[in-house]
């Protein structure tokens, strides 16, 4: 397998409590590799730690334990080293209206990164980045302000701002969640095209499973600080093995599976349940399927190991029942 460009190695991120607030373990042991030119979708519900993981990969959050590696090198905490790193790994945020300064023209917004990194040929770089993002001819957009653009155009400007530094990896946090349906496909096509033309790798953080199906090479499902299932979208969607993944698939519109609507709110990172972290909401445990396979006690009492960072290969799943089923089938 090719060497991953970006990887998380047993990353844990703990936010210490203050006063009466309890300590929250937002990321509780994650291994994840992203190969050059690979698009990985990280899906999960609000509060599962997916954004914290993305921020840690960007060096915006310090891992409590574990490491983030870029091209084999552990990223340093020194400001100068981080600056170099951030040129390689760029962030695209959810809401383009919020992430653009309303008083800056498109040119200034895109040129900002070039100025910070003191690169030469600013004008050409900005024009190239805008053109790559489908804003053609780029000169026509230079002097425009964000309020003069449509939502889709603004998101293109944000992506151009990331691309102008010629990064190796994009980390996109819900890149299309605030966009209209018709624009959504356009922006996703753009990400896919950038991958094909520039070999740009991407980690796309989302709760939109359709997005994963549309563009991801690999899909990682996160639940309460851990990745619970990872595989290609084909594998995971055709045969979801973790009960949480199954439930997520079942509530999609047009899903062939009978909807499994999980009751209760997403769990709390300050109180991670013992045993399997999903067990209080697990439909397999509640229905007695886990007991039938003789793993119910382990679900409640035995912690699951952290999944390894696999590149290609079969799906990996963090579930006592799925492991028991697999062992039986062998």
């Amino acid at each position: 397998m090719t060497e991953p460009i970006l990887s998380a190695d047993d990353v844990r991120v703990v936010f210490p409590g203050r006063g009466r607030r309890a300590t929250a373990t937002a990321v509780d042991g994650v291994n994840l590799d992203i190969a050059p030119g690979e698009i990985v979708a990280l899906v999960g519900e609000s509060g599962c730690g997916k954004t914290t993981l993305a921020r840690t990969l960007l060096g915006l959050e310090r891992a409590t334990s574990g490491q983030v590696r870029f091209a084999g090198q552990t990223i340093s905490r020194r400001t100068s080293a981080l600056r170099g790193y951030r040129r390689q790994v760029q962030l695209v945020l959810q809401d383009p209206t919020g992430s653009l300064n309303p008083r800056h023209t498109v040119y200034e917004a895109v040129a900002e990164g070039v100025r910070i990194h003191r690169l030469s040929g600013e004008r050409k770089r900005v024009a190239d980045a805008l053109a790559r993002c489908g804003l053609r001819p780029p000169e026509r957009f230079f002097e425009r302000y964000p309020h003069e653009l449509s939502g889709g155009q603004r998101q293109r400007v944000v992506i151009a701002g990331a691309l102008v530094l010629e990064p190796k990896v994009l980390v996109a946090d819900e890149p299309v969640a605030s966009l209209d349906a018709s624009v959504r496909g356009e922006i996703l096509s753009l990400l896919l095209r950038l991958r094909n033309e520039l070999g740009l790798a991407a980690l796309v953080v989302t709760h939109d499973l359709g997005l994963a199906w549309n563009i991801a090479d690999r899909l990682a499902v996160m639940y309460l600080g851990r990745i619970v299932e990872v595989g290609t979208p084909e594998q995971v969607f055709a045969d979801p093995r973790h009960p949480y993944t199954k439930a997520l698939m079942s509530v999609l519109p047009e899903s062939p599976i009978e909807p499994i609507v999980l009751t209760g709110e997403p769990p709390d990172a300050t109180r991670i349940p013992a045993g399997c972290r999903f067990h209080p909401r697990c439909p397999e445990l509640a229905s007695g399927a886990a007991a039938g396979a003789g793993v119910a006690e382990r679900c409640v009492g035995e912690r699951l190991p952290v999944l390894p960072a696999a590149g290609t290969g079969p799906t990996l799943v963090s579930c006592h029942l799925a492991a028991a089923k697999l062992a039986k089938s062998r």
Partner: protein
């Protein structure tokens, strides 16, 4: 008599730059126990329609046509009558509802407010009993009544908003993007709840969204809007899976059916931007973004033509298809169109 009927509704905003038509002649009906989905991009006029039904638009909006709730025209109602219809006849679950709760008031008080306003002789005991009942209906524990909004999660806040909308037992509920910004699982919970309420209480529901796949799953009928007009209407599932209007088709494709190999690694969007409401293209307003546009589309005015059983679409292709099937053209429409073409 239909629960809600919109007849040739137009809404025009007066702005400094001149009049901006946001809704340009919309006809819709919703019956008791029926769910109608209204889909379209930002700026297509769908939220304007929602607000116009209860006369909630700013004074800069000029509304013409008729909005009949149980046969009464909302636009001609006196203020007193209108106040009675708001909440008790029809209520709205607003877009971004989670942020429209008062942060310094307990939710029980907020839910009770419309009840006390509409029946002033309600005793506090009766009101709190009704609040408990409503919380039960939306699947929140009664112990939550004394919570403040910040103590609730997004999904719970949305449930509180639904409870408020139900407080005065309206026959019609308008839900404007009720699940946008919610997680998949919470979205499924909220949609289940809304469907159950329609089923059990026989209320009529208009659900507004840009996500066609959600509307197809929840609604009986679906109307797709573009630039202030309805361009396709029909049974929700049919419109989603087999759209007759190219715009409705593009919207449907934007949300892939997972597992469909045609959409794997090939996201589809719609090039271009929605038109500026102040400057809508002539002829079919969609023609400049349409992949199958013909010469006549830029001049010929479209109207909703029959496009199959209980289906309507505003696209010349449905006329052509009908001609092909029946072997004879729709003479009246053809003549009218030719005349306009010459004038245009």
């Amino acid at each position: 008599m239909a629960l809600l009927e919109l007849r040739d509704l137009t809404v025009t905003y007066r702005t400094e730059g001149g009049p901006v038509p946001a809704v340009r002649g919309v006809n819709l009906t919703v019956d008791t126990g029926q769910t109608l989905g209204l889909a379209g991009e930002s700026g297509c006029g769908k939220s304007t329609i929602a607000a116009s039904i209860l006369r909630l638009l700013p004074t800069s909006a000029k509304v013409t046509g008729e909005i009949l709730i149980d046969g009464d025209d909302v636009l001609k109602m006196s203020w007193g009558k209108l106040r009675a219809v708001r909440w008790a006849g029809a209520s709205i679950i607003f877009q971004g509802a989670m942020h429209s709760l008062n942060p310094v008031q307990k939710i029980s008080k907020q839910i009770a407010e419309p009840i006390l306003l509409h029946s002033p002789d309600t005793t506090p005991t009766q009101a709190s009993k009704r609040v408990a009942e409503l919380l039960g209906q939306v699947g929140l524990p009664v112990s939550r009544a004394d919570s403040y909004p910040h103590e609730l999660s997004g999904g719970q806040k949305q449930r509180v908003m639904i409870a408020m909308a139900l407080a005065c037992r309206p026959n019609l509920i308008i839900a404007d993007e009720p699940t946008t910004a919610l997680d998949v699982m919470i979205q499924a919970q909220v949609l289940d709840l809304i469907s159950a309420l329609v089923r059990d209480h026989g209320i009529g529901l208009i659900m507004i969204s840009h996500d066609l796949s959600v509307l197809a799953d929840t609604c009986d009928r679906l109307a797709v809007m573009y630039a202030g007009k309805i361009v396709e209407e029909g049974p929700a599932h049919q419109v989603f899976t087999d759209a007759r209007h190219p715009y409705a088709e593009a919207l449907a494709w934007a949300f892939p059916v997972i597992g469909d190999p045609r959409t794997r690694l090939s996201p589809r969007g719609l090039p271009g931007d929605p038109p500026d409401p102040a400057d809508v293209p002539s002829g079919c307003s969609f023609h400049n973004r349409c992949a199958v546009a013909e010469d006549q589309c830029s001049t010929r005015d479209m109207e909703l033509w029959p496009a199959g059983e209980r289906r309507l679409a505003a696209c010349v292709r449905v006329l052509e298809a009908a001609e092909g099937e029946s072997g004879r053209p729709f003479v009246a429409n053809e003549e009218k169109a030719t005349g306009e073409g010459v004038l245009g």
